[in-house]
């Protein structure tokens, strides 16, 4: 049989289809996953930096809690050693790798900021309503978990409320553990700031509005994101 024809045709078709399959969703998913990854890496590296640095000046490390602030202070050598410090005196030679690490972490912070700016822009361009209601980071995270915007739109709001809490959800379904009330939207300022007893309620309402916004974005409707957000804001003042 002549398989050559099938081979050539299908290979050509598939390549063309792959070429056309790249959508803005893919860029959103990669950008948000990358930002989350940088966050993880920066945290690990910053902890290592503190560990290492504390031989020299432990008191200063304890004074500055924020990783970014700490890294910048180390690079700019704003870290004055106290007179009665228990830190050791360290040679220049031994200090250099510590400073180099700090510089590496600083550049990662910069990269993260740039990518966040980029993500904000593509979210704003393609999903203005989601950005307005959920914020670009949380909106992108929801799209990433769903896979793409289309799949997110097809979910019920109760699923959107729990996206990111799969582990807790399945634990609940398999055993008699408590049901989770929120997934990634817990980080949304609207949910985060309401009192503990109302968080589930706020998450439910917010998920509903986010999904409405997503549907409008998917079908390229008008912009009513700010209105939707206000509705939730007013209910949970």
């Amino acid at each position: 049989m002549d398989f050559e024809k099938y081979y050539m045709e299908n290979l050509k078709d598939t390549k063309q289809k792959l070429k056309e399959s790249v959508k803005f969703d893919d860029f959103i998913v990669q950008a948000i996953n990358n930002i989350d990854e940088i966050n993880r890496v920066v945290n690990t590296l910053a902890k290592r930096l503190r560990d290492w640095y504390e031989f020299y000046n432990p008191e200063f490390s304890r004074e500055v809690y924020d990783h970014e602030e700490f890294v910048n202070a180390v690079i700019e050598r704003k870290d004055k050693k106290k007179k009665d410090s228990m830190g050791a005196d360290i040679d220049k030679e031994d200090m250099k790798p510590i400073l180099d690490l700090a510089k590496g972490i600083e550049s990662l912070f910069k990269l993260k900021k740039e990518q966040e700016k980029y993500l904000e822009k593509i979210m704003e361009d393609n999903c203005p309503n989601i950005s307005a209601v959920a914020g670009s980071l949380i909106g992108a995270r929801l799209i990433a978990i769903a896979g793409d915007l289309k799949r997110l739109v097809l979910f019920p709001a109760s699923t959107v409320q729990l996206l990111g809490a799969e582990k807790a959800l399945f634990r609940h379904m398999k055993t008699k553990a408590k049901a989770p009330k929120y997934g990634v939207i817990i980080k949304h300022p609207l949910v985060a700031r309401v009192s503990k007893g109302k968080k589930g309620k706020a998450a439910r309402k917010l998920a509903d509005k986010i999904l409405l916004a997503a549907k409008i974005d998917y079908f390229k409707g008008e912009f009513i994101g700010d209105k939707l957000r206000k509705e939730v804001e007013e209910e949970f003042k």
């Binding site: 049989m1 398989f3 050559e4 099938y6 081979y7 045709e9 299908n10 290979l11 078709d13 598939t14 390549k15 289809k17 792959l18 399959s21 790249v22 399945f170 379904m173 398999k174």
Partner: protein, 224 residues
């Protein structure tokens, strides 16, 4: 290296049997599998932890039907791990139609296809066989399906119905966790079996533990 129970599949070792296929593209590997040279022939190791077909062979399945010159419809080809071994077995005289729906996995598969002229990549949804029926031969000898979907039994029946020759063999890998996470696996396998038996003869059934968790393989034939 000696011949195993199946055509063109080789095995080595006694306690821990390892499976091999003859490399169709000597000098090139597909994933990071190890390669053994014997009598100027190159054999690729077939990892049962990555391939459900290899796992079911090691578990002692009684028929796979795939042999030199077979025409195979492979649904859920993914990045081409198992597909490459199937392509080794059928050789240049046979052909594999590899259907995969995810662009991410398809990209890897295309690279495999460029080296192996007996695999045709097809970016289609296996749930809609009407869409790709013009892109392949009318009938095939083997329908192999490994798709983690809730309605995998229905998809399989649809494709077997449309493409499998009367004397052909169908192979279905079922992942219990993608049908229902909460239900016990053996209950799901039973349900799937009942669904298959409405239209087909189930001639063998093997659980794939310890190589794959909560998976099983069905071998079916059409009614005489």
């Amino acid at each position: 290296m000696k011949q195993s129970r199946f055509h063109r599949i080789y095995e080595k070792g006694k306690r821990r049997k390892k499976l091999f296929t003859k490399n169709l593209t000597p000098g090139k590997t597909v994933y990071d599998e190890s390669v053994i040279n014997e009598n100027n022939l190159e054999y690729r190791e077939w990892n049962p932890k990555r391939s459900k077909l290899a796992a079911s062979i090691l578990k002692g399945i009684n028929k796979i039907g795939i042999e030199k010159g077979s025409i195979v419809l492979y649904l859920g080809a993914s990045s081409g791990t198992t597909v490459s071994h199937v392509s080794d077995i059928v050789g240049e005289e046979g052909f594999v139609f590899a259907v995969e729906f995810a662009p991410r996995m398809m990209r890897d598969l295309v690279f495999v296809c460029e080296d192996r002229k007996n695999i045709a990549p097809m970016l289609y949804d296996a749930n809609k066989p009407e869409e790709y029926k013009d892109k392949m031969t009318e009938k095939v000898d083997i329908v192999y399906m490994d798709i983690a979907q809730r309605n995998q039994a229905e998809i399989f029946l649809k494709n077997v119905d449309m493409f499998l020759k009367k004397e052909g063999v169908g192979l279905l890998a079922v992942k219990a966790r993608s049908v229902n996470v909460v239900e016990k696996p053996f209950k799901i396998f039973k349900q799937v079996r009942e669904k298959l038996e409405r239209n087909l003869n189930v001639i063998d059934y093997k659980l794939l533990s310890p190589f794959q968790k909560d998976h099983c393989m069905f071998v079916v034939k059409k009614w005489e």
